[in-house]
Amino acid sequence: MSPILNVKNLETRFQTLDGEVSAVNGIDFHLHKGESLGVVGESGSGKTQIFLSIMGLLAKNGRSTGSVKFKGQELIGMKTGELNKIRGVTMSMIFQDPMTSLNPYLKISKQMNEVLIEHQGRTEEEALKESIQMLDLVGIPEARKRVHMYPHEFSGGMRQRVMIAMALLCKPDLLIADEPTTALDVTVQAQILDLMRNLKKELDTAIVMITHDLGVVAGLCDRVMVMYGGRIVEKGDVRNIFYDAQHPYTQGLLESMPRLDEAKASKLHAIPGQPPNLQNLPVGCAFQDRCEYRKDQCLSSIPNLIEFAEGRAKACFREAS
């Protein structure tokens, strides 16, 4: 089975007044149908920019190079008109803040129907029926009535459900979710994650989950990609990442999380220092200033992402532990 998304050597640069920013550097990964990939990293690690590059949604001063093949089609360099036949149809994205992604002036019905009429050539009547079905599917009570409401009449959790429903209208093969539950309360987050798990099972949708919350990844994802300083530093199956992390950053991240399920030592293990500035990355490994295993090699050259076992790779000069 060939992957539905295949990314090779993706690079994204932004031209700013203060110079060039390398947000995404040499990214390689692929995703199969029905698979879920967790993309983990701190703010400024480039995790969102990878997928904005793939969707062709970069800010005006951004340029991507490399190759992104979605169902065999090359997306980099594709014209907007062509891209629009894919975006929102076979590949959808949902964002952290649902209020800014919905048009406050239009009823939900209008916003949802538009997608179906535009992309699938449905009539107004058919579109409304399908919209209501989809709202039902994502667990909006009284969908028949609610579909005629405005975004502000929904709570945060409900709005995020509306966004997911919209993203799913054309039954996409790939759903990219950028921190979809970060702004929500835990009980609502649990509902949304439950919903996404069911989608994966029932519709065989491939899911990319971009998040900083390792707990969310643990529950939902099959594979994980850890980002630091605009690069992938480690990737592997979810169990490998959580139980046998190899990169010092992944290890540090896991250890620095307070745990609800067990009492940890009285002090948290904190990674010293702070994430690097993408505008001013050090020569060599981006993690060097915060790494306890730093050696001379780390200061002079950037470690490549090297596969060290089936489906597992890390970008670190340190020998396996």
């Binding site: 709570s155 529950g219 959580f242 307070p258 002090k267």
Partner: protein, 329 residues
């Protein structure tokens, strides 16, 4: 860790909000409705709940930054509710606050030396400028900021460093209690651990008491001695931290704890989640009886009629649920 420094009794904060419509008039929004607790010296009390449960309002009302509409706050035995700004001032030295958004809570036009030193200037105007700067430098060193950065401006610092500045400003008067209102929510995981460790170190060194307000139950479990669970302005449960996780009694506490994702794939996938139906009801028209009953899987007619009173499960563990005994642990 035995003497009570803060005693809050039946605290209420009701805001008057427009009912809507032109002639709608005003209705009370009960942000905090009859909350009681005590805080001991050197103790951390975690306050958890979802957005809109009144946890931030509670923190501010305790410090008299919002005037409570009912109840008492006693500081070392003396009532400080409703004191005017001038009488309140000597108490303020002992009570400080740090905020969620580290950058927004710092004046962009002041250097961090001025920001951290300002409480000293207000409360101890007799201290000379030179001594003040020396004290600021010492405090910067304590919270992990380089003292030579004293003349820089807030925008030159990262989020984690700004939070350290906020902590230094709160600590400079050597207060006895600090209200921490979501102090690490805006920070990255690796930075969050640094700030949590700093707060714990300061607590040990100065014998501080903390009211730690957060929606993140994992952080709260780590830093607190006791935990209070709020829902729609009312206390659902108070217990020592291990009891609240190992033996939660209130259906809401159970749901809240089960919903927290655990960074461990095997445990996370095999745990049982109590999924709550619906959303938080409007605080303008809270449900009758028990405020949680509209989302509670165990609610019955009795819950709509009677508002539950806190009942003791064991020493230091109270729960406000009519059916807690029936539901078991």
């Amino acid at each position: 860790m035995s003497d009570t420094i803060l005693n809050v009794e039946d605290l209420k904060v009701h805001f008057q909000v427009p009912r809507g419509g032109f002639f709608g008039g005003r209705v009370p929004l009960k942000a905090v409705d009859g909350v009681s607790f005590e805080l001991k010296s050197g103790e951390t009390l975690g306050i958890v709940g979802e957005s809109g449960c009144g946890k931030s309002t509670l923190g501010r009302a305790v410090l008299q930054l919002i005037e409570p509409t009912g109840g008492n706050v006693a500081w070392l035995g003396s009532n400080i509710t409703g004191l005017d700004a001038k009488t309140m001032r000597p108490y303020r030295k002992d009570m400080q606050i740090i905020f969620q958004d580290p950058l927004a809570s710092l004046n962009p036009r002041m250097t961090i030396g001025e920001i951290i030193g300002e409480p000293l200037k207000t409360h101890y105007p007799e201290i000379s400028r030179k001594d003040r700067r020396e004290k600021v430098r010492q405090m910067m060193d304590k919270v992990g900021l380089l003292p030579q950065m004293i003349n820089r401006y807030p925008h030159e610092f990262s989020g984690g460093q700004c939070q350290r500045i906020g902590i230094a400003r709160a600590m400079i008067l050597e207060p006895k209690v600090i209200v921490c209102d979501e102090p690490v929510s805006a920070l990255d995981v690796s930075i969050q651990a640094q700030v949590v460790n700093l707060l714990q170190d300061l607590q040990k060194e100065f014998g501080l008491s903390l009211l730690f307000i957060s929606h993140d139950l994992s952080v709260v479990r780590h830093i607190s001695h006791r935990i209070m669970v709020l829902y729609l302005g009312k206390v659902m449960e108070i217990a020592p931290k291990d009891a609240i996780y190992a033996d939660p009694r209130h259906p809401y506490t159970k749901a809240l704890i089960s919903a927290v994702p655990i960074p461990d794939p095997d445990r996370e996938r095999n745990k049982e989640i109590v999924v709550l139906q619906g959303d938080l009801p409007s605080p303008i028209a809270p449900p009758s009886g028990c405020v949680f009953r509209t989302r509670c899987p165990f609610a019955d007619d009795e819950c709509a009629k009677t508002a539950p009173q806190p009942e003791s499960v064991e020493a230091g563990h109270t729960v406000s649920c009519l059916h807690w005994q029936k539901l078991g642990g």
